[in-house]
């Protein structure tokens, strides 16, 4: 197992009721595995990450895709599509 730091922003932070948390993942986990683990919690996590709503994942502050690996100790952020500018 390795521990990662999760961060939530904007609407997802409001929906999950927290700005982040530490999570333990099996070694070799990918972004898709992390998302599945969160969706399995049900509630707001299933609503936001398990349905048709669009969200983005960044691993160590780089935009990531479902198949990307999550290194040990990574900072992983989950957030809605961006709306700056």
């Amino acid at each position: 197992m390795n521990t990662i730091q999760l961060l939530y922003f904007a609407r997802l932070r409001d929906a999950f009721g927290c700005a982040g948390e530490a999570v333990s993942l099996p070694g070799g986990s990918r972004v898709a595995d992390l998302v599945a683990l969160l969706v399995a919690r049900g509630g707001a996590f299933a609503d936001e990450l398990g349905g048709t709503r669009v969200f983005r994942v960044a691993v160590n502050q780089e935009m990531a895709h479902a198949a990307d690996a999550i290194p040990a100790g990574a900072e992983v952020a989950i957030f809605p599509p961006v709306t700056g500018g």
Partner: protein, 157 residues
């Protein structure tokens, strides 16, 4: 090598001062394009009293630098400045400034529009609008993700 300046924070910016700093002491930048994005009073027909800009400290600056580097690799730019504000803003307040300088005007125009198109879809900022009573997070627009298609279907900075 383009000289690149990135700044993210709550402070307002001065277009004239940023432009003066960009071109100070040089005569290579025959063309300078500036974009200023401002808070509009009407957003989708709701009256906006406060616009709150949230960001992802650390990643935001990296994402903006990556977009600016990508523009400088694609066009012959002499300098780029990107300033983006965060925190509470009000109608007519300035949100974002992009300055691009080049020897050639079409390079300065295109690089500027490219930076804004990618900023709108790749830089971690989120807007929350409030009319003074209720607040809501602004949804991303399809038109913004479509805008980057013109720079290449497979181009991601």
């Amino acid at each position: 090598m383009a000289s690149i300046t990135i700044r993210v924070g709550p402070d307002d910016f001065d277009l004239g001062a940023e432009y003066a700093a960009l071109v100070a002491g040089e005569a290579d930048s025959g063309a300078v394009v500036a974009f200023v994005g401002r808070v509009r009073d009407l957003s989708l027909d709701r009256h906006v009293a406060v616009l709150e800009l949230e960001h992802y400290p650390g990643m935001t600056e990296k994402a903006l630098a990556k977009i600016a580097d990508s523009a400088a690799a694609r066009w012959p730019l002499t300098a780029v400045t990107v300033v983006h504000r965060v925190g509470p803003l009000h109608p007519a307040d300035q949100i974002v400034l992009v300055l691009t300088a080049s020897a050639h005007r079409h390079a300065a125009y295109d690089a500027n529009a490219y930076i804004m198109d990618y900023l709108k879809t790749e830089a971690p900022f989120w807007k929350r609008e409030s009319d003074g009573q209720t607040a809501h997070w602004v949804d991303a627009r399809d038109s913004d993700s479509e805008a980057i298609q013109r720079w290449h279907p497979d181009d991601t900075p």
